[in-house]
């Protein structure tokens, strides 16, 4: 099945799935879809070129700010505002990604990690210095349910649709890119820079391009999040969130888009689920457990999962599939780093 067709099918399935969910779950689905786009970008970047970015939250924020300002500026019917917002989100995050990529091409592992980390830390300062609304951030326009659908679905479900569609628009080209010549080049650079240079592939542009290609879906993810939450604040894209994106990419399995989906759902739904679980703890244990117990359980689970399956969920699924006689083909991206 060709990639666009498969993407379309999955999108329709996901949108159909929203009918089975109540408004709060649909809101969670929208945030998961937004994270999925960002994690997909990150997982391709890390899995294929080995460049570790701890700053994808900032790229999401760039997309969110781009979406909010452009969509608010457009005075027209909502599809026009939405489209303008998405284009601005892709442009803002793509430009930042290209800049970062140019620097990243020269850097190795921890040095790139350090630079992107410093970027995340500087985001609140940048929001206070640049005209980005400071700590309170900027408002993104509220997109109400269109008239013909208003009787059928709630606003959360509508936003989930938009987020899912945005994620699909963000991830599909990424998958095509990964499966095409560009993906081949990225893998060549990862395997051996000298060898790739000898065969005429210059690692610099490939790495920079990969960074930009990974930044655009992250930015669109930020736009999807802005649609669901109508707000972009620097506090929402802090270090903790940025690291969660890395967790999602690794827990899902680096390089795997399916894994990115699993990882995104994991980091959006699991903390909430654990919070619910921790709320069941008897009251007598004291107030200090409030909130902290859920964080503790999440951390412990993360350690246990990673030590048991360092390759992430996608590797695990691969292994299960391999054990069966009929192996369903998925694009092989089993490069581990």
């Amino acid at each position: 099945m060709s990639t666009p067709l498969r993407a379309l099918l999955l999108t329709v399935l996901a949108i159909g799935g929203t009918f089975g969910l109540d408004p709060f779950r649909n809101y969670q689905l929208a945030t998961a879809a937004a994270c999925f786009a960002a994690v997909a970008g990150l997982t391709v970047l890390v899995g294929l070129t080995g460049q570790l970015s701890l700053g994808h939250a900032v790229l999401m924020a760039a997309g969110g700010y781009g979406f909010a300002s452009a969509a608010s500026a457009v005075d027209g019917p909502w599809p026009v505002a939405l489209l303008a917002g998405l284009v601005a989100a892709a442009a803002a995050s793509g430009a930042l990604g290209l800049l970062l990529g140019a620097a990243a091409a020269r850097l190795r592992g921890p040095y790139l990690a350090g630079l992107t980390l410093a970027l995340v830390i500087a985001l609140p300062a940048a929001a206070n210095t640049l005209p980005l609304g400071g700590d309170q951030g900027v408002r993104a326009p509220f997109l109400p349910v269109p008239e013909p659908l208003a009787a059928l679905i709630a606003v959360e479900q509508w936003h989930a649709w938009l987020a899912i569609a945005t994620a699909a628009v963000a991830v599909t080209p990424l998958v095509m890119l990964r499966n095409g010549r560009a993906g081949l080049r990225m893998r060549a650079v990862l395997d051996d820079e000298t060898a790739s240079r000898l065969s005429g592939v210059d690692p610099g542009p490939v790495k920079a391009g990969a960074f930009a290609a990974s930044a655009v879906p992250a930015g669109l993810g930020g736009a999807a999040l802005a649609i669901a939450t109508q707000q972009v604040t620097p506090g929402g894209y802090g270090l903790g969130f940025s690291l969660l994106l890395v967790v999602a990419a690794v827990a899902g399995g680096l390089g795997s888009i399916g894994g990115a989906a699993i990882g995104a759902v994991l980091v959006t739904v699991l903390p909430w689920g654990l919070d619910e679980l921790a709320a069941l703890a008897p009251d007598g244990l004291g107030r200090r457990l409030d909130g902290n117990l859920a964080v503790l359980l999440f951390g412990a689970g993360l350690i246990a999962l990673t030590t048991a399956w360092p390759g992430g969920a996608a590797r695990l699924l691969d292994r299960l599939r391999a054990a069966r006689p009929l192996r369903l083909a998925t694009p092989s991206t089993t490069t581990e780093r």
């Binding site: 099945m1 067709l5 099918l9 329709v12 399935l13 159909g16 929203t18 009918f19 089975g20 969910l21 109540d22 408004p23 709060f24 649909n26 809101y27 969670q28 945030t31 609140p124 300062a125 206070n128 400071g134 700590d135 309170q136 951030g137 408002r139 509220f142 009787a151 059928l152 679905i153 709630a154 606003v155 959360e156 479900q157 999040l225 939450t229 109508q230 707000q231 604040t233 506090g235 929402g236 894209y237 802090g238 903790g240 969130f241 909430w272 919070d275 004291g286 107030r287 409030d290 909130g291 902290n292 859920a294 964080v295």
Partner: protein
């Protein structure tokens, strides 16, 4: 290829029809969060993360007050269920927490959501959903926009009011002193600076310094203020940074007069940072403003101390305790006034009626076109380790500061509002 797609489409259509009801809005006519014997309300608070240190005790105090009310029969026969969600002071987490409270838990109202950046993130959502958004725990002016957010009400005196009152008292005590400001680099610090400027005149503040909450120290800022010859330092700082400013200055052998906004001037909390031995010395004469009844030995404090001992495991009694319980009291008063069968509309109408008195030392100013809680504040001074009101009370409106008489609300009916 064709088969799976069309199958999926068919399944989908069926699912859509079958499940449409599941996610469709509306339906029954009952009031969300209200049953015959309970009222469920929710809040978002930083229970974890760096902000937890300063604020996680507020919701515990509010919950303790509600437990006291429930143990005494509730309000109009209904017990109050108070759902506290942790947002770690992260606006993204606030979004999730508040949506869960509204759509899953179907709360009657959101009460005392804490923080400017966090609560800003859910302001529009609560407005769209028509959920009463009562007594926001922040002094931003954002919450007082009845034309835009008709269900949102502030609780704190706003930062501009506090800054203006502090500056007015400073000018009266000490005419001609060099006035400087240290403020947080957000709407809190900006509001205090704006308030001070309304009194001393714009560009008349000798030195303005800011810090960010992630700062590790204030050495650079205080060095600059010392060099500028500041005599009166007005602080728009949270408790931890007030303690740090006072402590750092003392290390430099510099003892200017401190005028601190209420959000950063809680004596028990500051003493926790500075140590019980140093606090009475370093904080001697510290001026602040407040609007809640925290005078040691006062009838409200005595009641709150009893509730704290019985329903809050005897947690340390601080300004946060008084704040949290006062919020609880005000909500109970509003709920009682909303009638035997409260609706979201009747709750908002009760607050807007102007009949609520709260438990402050100055009048509440809620009305149909004013969603600010306190427009006046009383001056407090620390003397030998005791922080109390000194009588001076100021009302700030339309950029003018006027002295008024305090009008404390007496304790009635053992602190349980009735009709």
């Amino acid at each position: 290829m064709r088969t799976p797609t069309s199958k999926a489409a068919a399944a989908l259509a069926a699912a859509a029809l079958a499940l449409a009801a599941c996610s469709t809005p509306g339906g029954d006519e009952s009031v969300p969060g209200v049953t015959d014997d309970t009222v469920t309300i929710g809040t978002h608070q930083p229970l974890t993360g760096p902000a937890a240190a300063g604020y996680s005790t507020i919701s515990a105090a509010t919950a303790a007050y509600f437990a006291y009310v429930n143990a005494n029969g509730g309000i109009n026969g209904r017990e109050i269920e108070y759902l506290v969600k942790d947002d770690a002071y992260d606006p993204a987490a606030t979004q999730t927490a508040v949506r869960e409270l509204v759509t899953e838990e179907e709360v009657f109202a959101i009460v005392n959501g804490l923080g400017t950046p966090t609560h800003s993130a859910v302001l529009d959502y609560l407005d769209q959903q028509g959920v009463p958004d009562l007594f926001v725990s922040s002094g931003s002016l954002t919450w007082n926009q009845p034309d835009v957010y008709d269900n949102t009400f502030a609780f704190n005196a706003d930062y501009v009011t506090e800054g203006a009152a502090l500056a007015q008292y400073a000018v009266e005590q000490d005419p001609g002193a060099v006035v400087c400001v240290l403020g947080q680099d957000d709407d809190y610090g900006e509001g205090v600076i704006e308030g001070v400027e309304t009194v001393v005149g714009s560009n008349e503040i000798a030195e303005v310094q800011t810090y960010s909450v992630s700062s590790e120290d204030l050495t650079a800022q205080l060095g600059a203020m010392m060099a500028a010859g500041c005599e009166v330092n007005v602080l728009g700082t949270i408790n931890g940074f007030t303690a740090m400013a006072v402590g750092t200055a003392a290390q430099m052998e510099w003892f200017p007069r401190w005028y601190v906004s209420s959000s950063g001037a809680d004596y028990p909390t500051l003493a926790g940072y500075l140590g019980e031995d140093l606090a009475p010395v370093l904080l001697q004469g510290m001026v602040s403003v407040n609007y809640l009844p925290f005078s040691p030995g006062g009838e409200w404090v005595s009641l709150f101390e009893e509730i704290n001992a019985e329903y809050n495991d005897g947690a340390p009694f601080t300004g946060n305790t008084v704040f949290g319980m006062s919020v609880g009291y005000l909500f109970c008063e509003a709920l009682a006034a909303a009638g035997d069968d409260p609706t979201r509309e009747s709750l908002v109408a009760a607050v807007e009626s102007g009949d609520l008195v709260g438990n402050g030392i100055v009048p509440l100013s809620y009305s149909g076109d004013d969603h600010a809680a306190y427009r006046a504040v009383g001056v407090t001074v620390v003397n030998e380790g005791v922080q109390d009101y000194v009588g001076a009370t100021y009302e700030v409106s339309a950029g003018r500061v006027t002295a008024i008489e305090p009008s404390p609300v007496p304790l009635e009916n053992e602190g349980i509002p009735g009709e």
